[in-house]
Every structure is written in C-alpha cells, then in structure tokens.
Amino acid sequence: MFSAFKTLVGRDLLLAMRRRSDLFTTLFFFVIVVSLFPLGIGPELNTLRLIAPGVFWVAALLASMLALERLFAIDYEDGALEQMLLAPQPLFILVLAKVTAHWLVTGLPLVLMAPLLGLQYDMATDALMAMVISLLLGTPALSLIGAIGAALTLGLRGGGVLVSLLVLPLYIPVLIFGSGAVEATASGLGGQGHLSMLGAILVLSLLFAPIASSAALRISAE
C-alpha cells in the first residue's frame, strides 16, 4: 500500500518535471498577483504591511484553485484514472498520493517564495516566519479540500469557473485562520491559536477529504 503511494507520487513528480512550464505557471501567478497589489493600492509601506497577510493568503487561495484543474484531468483523459479506480489498492491512498504530488509541485513553491515577496511588503521577521508556517500548514489543506471540487467537476464544460464556485466557500476557514495567524503575530498577539486551528483543519481534511474525493471520482468516472 505504501509502495503504491510512493510509486504514484514519484510518477506524478516525474510527469511534472517533464513539463516544467506547468510547474512554474502557478508560482508565477502567485508572484504576479501579489506584486499587483502595491501597484493598485500605492507604495505606502504602512498600508502594505497591514494588508500583506490578506493579500498573500488570497493569492495563495487563487493560485491553488487555478492549479486544481490539472489534478485529475490529465489522468482522466488518458484513462489512467480508471486504472486507479480499478486498482486493488484503496482509492484513499491513491488520491492522497495524487494530492501530495500536486501539493509538492504547486503548493510548496508558494511557501518557499512567500518570505521573499514578504520582504517587498516590508514585513517583520516574526510575521514572515508566521506566514511561512501558516502557508505550510494551510496549502496542503487547500489542495486536499480542492481535490473534492476537482473530482466533482471532472470532464464538465466550464469546469474551471465551476471549481472556483464550489471550492472557494470551502476555503474560507483556511483563509481566516491563515491570515489571522500572520496578523496576530504582526500585531504582537502571537499566532499560536490560529496556527493550532490551521493544524486541526489540516488533520481533519487529511482524514476526510480523500474519502470525499474518492467518492466524487467514482461518481464522475462511472
């Protein structure tokens, strides 16, 4: 079972490495969205410091949502997904593997890029630290929850827009606690409580989201 997990993660990472342009689109989307805000709002550093948590988290939400389309779509088109549904290994593990690989390719780069962009927003070191930790806890949860939406909209017309309508309301708790952690740290209150809630959301979605995604895949691929 674990070898199936490893094999699938390795396969997806290999596929992603062969198409590197796909890999960078999500990251560049994140960078561009975050860089657009100072242009729209003005370069006042005090304002930027204030809005940074919200901007970063909303950008992360949108970037993660944009990447969802590719999560199952390619496997669905070439039939690999049906093989996964028929495989003797539990679908839970396979979905978890797909989501893990997806997060490594689209989520982790955002986490690593965030502190660099945070410097552009003149954020303090401890706020940057809280940002990285909150993104590290939050983006996997986003990928896991988003997988449900991606599985439900598999092969539908206008799937991309639809996914945003389904998934964004479900993303709201992650957004609230994620940006809350950074804000609380920046204002000196300490983001411990928010980070704990974020961790709880991650654990819960780790347990339940793959079940829901598996059910959704079975509905969509039947």
Partner: protein, 249 residues
C-alpha cells in the same frame, strides 16, 4: 413493523410520490397563505412598537424566520443527499434539487432584510459580523450546488455529485460559523449582539413563530411543486407519465 417499512419506501418511487405531492401542494399552499397572512397582520398591527428600536424592528419578523429557513433547508438538503447516497433512491436527489432554489432565496432574503434593518439600527448596510458573513457563505454554498447541478447533463451523476457537495458543505458549516466568529472577536468586539430573544415580548415571539411556520409551509409547498415538475421532466419517457391526465390533455 414490516408494513410500516413498506409504506415508507412506497413513496420513494417518483410514480407514487407524484400524486401524493400533488395532493399535498394545495394544503400547504393554503397553510402558507393563512399563516403568512396572519403573521404579517400581527407583525404590522398587533405587535407593539419596540421602545428602543421603534417601528423599524418589525422587519425582524421576516428576517429571522428567513434566516432560520435558509439554515434548516440546507440541513434538510443534507438529509436527502445522505439518504440518496446511501439508498440510491432517485427521489432524494430530486428533493435536494427542488429545495436548493428556495434555500438560496431565503438566504438572500435574510441578507437583504438584514441590510434594511442594519441601515437604521447600526447605521450601515453591511458589517463583517460573524453571522452576516456565515450567512453570505451559506448563500455561496447554495449557488455552488445549483451551478454544479446545472452544468451536469446526466441527471444521475448530477444528483450524486450534488449530494456529495451538499454533505461536504454541511460538514463545513459549523467550521465556517465558528471560524468567522473567532476571526471577528480577535479584531474588535461584535458591533451588536443578537441575543435579545429572551427579552422579547410574548406577542412578538408568537408573531415570529407564526411567520416561521408560514415559511415552513411555503417551503414545503414550493419544494413539492418543484419536485413534481422535476419528476415530469426526468420521467418524461415513462409510461406512467404518459398516462397522467394532465400530460395527455
């Protein structure tokens, strides 16, 4: 015991449910008209003027029942969705589908009347308060469900996908509600607390209950009428539909 079980499942078939719903729609329509009529009369003429909020508070007789209904309907949808996924009954999906627009309308109505109430009372149309925000998210969940249902042509898949989405949403509702509450308390105290239910006068409470019951009756009537059209639409090529008096005409 056995007979009761059979009775329940008898109406899970669209063919037997369709005439039953047809009989129930007029009853509940009448109930809704009477209850909402009495409720509106009481809310405008019988309920006393509030000593603090004046006449403007009367919108609460529409606002609170609408907000209740928007939440209840989502729970009922989740019930039907779960039932449909477990027993694989067609009617459950149709009921979920039939309830969703009404729920969305009530969520919108609650927000709309809330804005009308908020302008004179709080001095603003909208506050990013925990309740307002979670009601808004509830509206988004309804719209997401309707969008998903609308974009899948295969009705069987649409029902099951929608059911799954509703169930995921219902898990999320308490999380959203509390997260929004905590998110707000960190920033500033809530602008106003809505816990004035216990201090409310008896007449006001009765008026609100009658309005709520009227909204229930309205919801049932509208949902049943809608489920009848959905049944006709989906079962159009079956013999029992073609033998119906209203179809043959």
């Amino acid at each position: 015991m056995n007979a009761r079980l059979i009775n329940w499942f008898k109406f899970s078939s669209p063919a037997t449910f369709y005439p039953l719903a047809g009989k129930m729609v007029p009853i509940f329509t009448l109930l809704a008209v009477v209850l909402i009529g009495v409720g509106l009369y009481m809310s405008f003429f019988v309920a006393p003027t509030d000593y603090k909020q004046g006449e403007g508070y009367r919108i609460i007789f529409v606002h609170v029942p609408a907000a209740w209904m928007s939440m209840f309907i989502y729970l009922i949808m989740a019930f039907w969705a779960g039932l449909g996924l477990v027993f694989n009954t067609r009617l459950s999906g149709m009921m979920t589908r039939a309830l969703a627009p009404t729920g969305a309308i009530f969520a919108f109505l609650a927000l709309w009347t809330g804005a009308f109430w908020g302008k004179p009372m709080w001095g603003t149309w909208w506050v990013w308060d925990a309740r307002l925000t979670s009601e808004l998210i509830l509206l988004f969940l309804y719209l997401g469900y309707l969008a998903l249902q609308g974009s899948i042509d295969d009705t069987r898949r649409a029902d099951r996908a929608g059911a799954l989405l509703v169930l995921v949403g219902v898990v999320n509702i308490p999380i959203i509600y509390y997260s929004v509450q905590w998110w707000n308390t960190l920033h500033q105290g809530a602008t106003i607390s809505m816990d004035n239910g216990s201090k409310m006068g008896v007449t006001m409470l009765w008026t609100m209950l009658i309005m709520a019951l009227g909204f229930w009756a309205y919801t049932i009537a509208v949902a049943l009428a809608r489920v009848r059209s959905i049944i006709l639409e989906r079962e159009a090529d079956t013999t029992w539909v073609s033998e119906l008096a209203e179809v043959r005409r």
